[in-house]
């Protein structure tokens, strides 16, 4: 073997090693923007612990679904669950990873956080343009003790397609048949009135700037900016405030065991403590992955996040899944994700 050949051989070996090292180490995923902060925080902690990094591109749920279907990433992430038929057609499996809530916020003179009480039908009527003043009898009836001004209501909505929009419009569709038939639920919908602001920060800003405004933002955003959130009447008729407990109650009261492929939208769940605009963010992986080692690593990461990531999630005002649901998800992993007849994940 001459020198040149030897060098070439060594170089090839090095390249092979390097490629192998990258492939074995980094988990790649893409999708929803809503859970990005917590995924990034988990990834950071996990990397310090195990040396395995997570490369998560928060390009939006639609992008995440496209990327996993194109098999360019190990997992996709979506704020909207995929329908069981779509999953089967693509050979994908989905499971919930983290829970969050959407909170209506208002800007009415003299009304502080948690003082106004609304229900789904009333909010739907506001966003349909059927209720236009804050001293409308329907709002007064829900708030006999609050002094409501006759200001015009200025509805603010999220203009960019988002899971927040999906949860909010899904809730209003369930609460008001008229909203369901004329508007419907989606990551962006055609709002008949109001003004569209970009992102949580845009909605929050428009709401605080405009007298008489109503908007909706992710819980963390309402809490950290001390916005005037409202209470809501839930499906059981109870009046609830947004909190980690009421989001988790909604997730715990949902009947996940009966939901095919975890296709369950957490809005408008029954239970005395359930917050009605709650939603889970989902992960998508292949049932029979070609890159089974990668998927195994990803599932190890998710298992670790379920167990040790709960406190970090709470710090960022996300809500961890209830314990029973985690056990169910892990069982699904064991039984339904396999490569060459062997389960890809076999942890506790």
């Amino acid at each position: 073997m001459n020198t040149l050949q030897r060098i070439a051989f060594a170089a090839a070996a090095c390249l092979g090693l390097a490629a192998g090292a990258v492939a074995a180490n980094d988990i790649s995923g893409a999708g929803a923007t809503f859970p990005y902060p917590i995924y990034a925080k988990w990834a950071d902690a996990y990397k310090k612990l195990t040396g395995i990094g997570l490369n998560y591109q928060s390009i939006g749920s639609g992008g995440g679904i496209k990327q996993i279907k194109a098999k360019t990433v190990t997992f996709g992430a979506s704020d909207m669950p995929l329908k069981p038929d779509d999953l089967k057609a693509a050979g994908l499996l989905q499971f919930p990873m983290i829970i969050g809530g959407v909170v209506p916020v208002v800007n009415i003179k003299g009304v502080g956080p948690g003082q106004l009480h609304l229900d789904g039908a009333t909010i739907a009527a506001i966003y349909l343009g059927d209720i236009t003043k804050w001293d409308d009898p329907q709002i007064k009836r829900l708030n006999p003790k609050v002094a409501l001004p006759g200001t015009a209501i200025a509805p603010v909505y999220r203009s960019d397609g988002s899971g927040t929009n999906f949860l909010f419009s899904d809730y209003l569709s369930k609460a008001s048949p008229k909203f369901g038939t004329t508007i419907g639920a989606n990551s962006s919908v055609q709002w008949p009135i109001g003004i569209g602001a970009k992102g949580n920060e845009g909605v929050a800003n428009m709401t605080t700037q405009t007298d008489g405004a109503i908007g909706y933002v992710e819980y963390a955003y309402a809490k950290q900016n001390k916005m005037s959130y409202t209470q809501l009447t839930n499906k059981s008729g109870a009046v609830v405030s947004p909190s980690a407990e009421s989001f988790q109650a909604a997730a715990a009261n949902a009947d996940w065991s009966k939901a095919d492929s975890y296709y369950l939208i957490l809005t408008d769940q029954a239970g005395a403590k359930s917050w009605p605009i709650t939603g889970a963010s989902f992960i998508l992986v292949y049932r029979q992955p070609t890159d089974s080692v990668q998927v195994g690593e990803a599932l190890k990461f998710f298992a670790w996040a379920y167990k040790d990531g709960a406190a970090m999630a709470s710090e960022l005002d996300y809500v961890p899944l209830p314990a029973a649901l985690i056990d169910q998800v892990k069982k699904t992993w064991r039984t339904e994700i396999s490569a060459g007849g062997h389960p890809v994940w076999s942890g506790p």
Binding site: G62, D160, G161, V189, Q190, T210
Partner: protein, 317 residues
């Protein structure tokens, strides 16, 4: 001994040829990229265009739930915001350029010139955030209520200034766009005015013309072509601007007569909705919006070219 070394000459010849083909390749690359963009836009938008046909450009509806899409409101918003922007930016930019080249005391010339160029370097997201957090509240509290109260009742024009003062909307978007395109227009026009030969101007003054007469009868006619070029450069940017508009336009797929109402533009609709768009028809409709913007920009440039050619022909006579 020969004066020209033949080996050197041969080397030069090869170098010339290589350089020539390299520049040719660079030029062709532009055409290839442009063609590629056009083809992929057509390909991507085909599902939507074949499904909706001509209705895609004539309908106002944009409903992702029922998958009914029409681009009319986005086209309307794009054209109206750009028109507002040009209506403000062209006269102001023209004024800045004239002042800098003809009237400015030498001490102020550099600071103002640098400031105009700096304005061009500000990223669009900064304009968007500034528009949303600083400009919109001012318009909402002080400007729009006045417009609604005093201009609103005027018959005809009043229709443009009705409805609640949201602060953001078509007018605000046009205003932010005007500020964004102003430096392009001003800088281009200034450079063009600078190319007017001093001898021409001095001859004008020598014949007893006033500054006003020199500007309108010597400087402006001499730089007509450049003025049109500057306006088109600004218009091109106004039509395609995305981020700043998304922040301040209110993002509603509706056509309202009032300029204070929220609207949408082609590029802001794409920026807003593409990330979370699920489903072929939805994605394809967004790409079709991109194709429409491509066509609008293309026709604007074509119109500008035609206008320039006419001007040149008239100047040659």
């Amino acid at each position: 001994m020969a004066i020209i070394d033949p080996r050197h000459a041969a080397k030069q010849l090869i170098f010339e040829r290589v350089f020539r083909s390299a520049t040719l390749m660079a030029a062709i690359l532009v055409l290839v990229i442009l063609g590629g963009v056009a083809i992929s836009l057509l390909h991507g938008s085909w599902p939507a265009l074949s499904h909706f046909g001509m209705h895609f450009v004539t309908r106002e509806i944009w409903n992702p739930v029922t998958e009914q899409f029409g681009a009319l409101s986005a086209i309307y918003g794009t054209l109206v915001t750009s028109t507002i922007a040009m209506a403000i930016a062209v006269p102001v930019g023209f004024g800045i350029a004239l002042f800098l080249t003809e009237l400015c005391p030498p001490l102020l010339k550099r600071p103002i010139g640098v400031a105009v160029e700096l304005l061009a370097a500000v990223p669009s997201i900064i304009f968007g955030i500034w528009g949303l957090f600083v400009l919109a509240p001012v318009l909402q509290r002080h400007v729009q209520p006045w417009l609604i109260e005093h201009v609103g009742p005027v018959p005809g024009i009043g229709k443009l200034f009705m409805g609640p003062p949201y602060g953001i909307g078509i007018l605000t978007a046009g205003f932010v766009l005007a500020i964004m395109v102003l430096p392009f227009i001003a800088a281009t026009m200034r450079d063009v005015f600078d190319t007017v030969p001093p001898m021409l101007k001095e001859s004008g003054y020598g014949l007893g013309a006033t500054t006003w007469e020199v500007i309108w009868k010597v400087v402006v006619p001499h730089s007509r072509v450049g003025i049109v070029g500057g306006v088109m450069l600004g218009l091109g940017r106004a039509l395609g601007e995305t981020m700043a508009v998304t922040f301040v336009i209110g993002n509603a797929h509706r056509i309202s007569t009032s300029l204070l109402a929220p609207g949408t533009t082609i590029s802001s609709a794409i920026a807003n909705e593409f990330t979370e768009a699920v489903g072929d028809l939805y994605t394809s409709s967004l790409i079709a919006l991109g194709l429409l913007l491509f066509l609008i920009t293309f026709s604007v440039i074509a119109a500008a070219q035609a206008m320039l050619r006419r001007l040149e022909r008239r100047a040659a006579l």
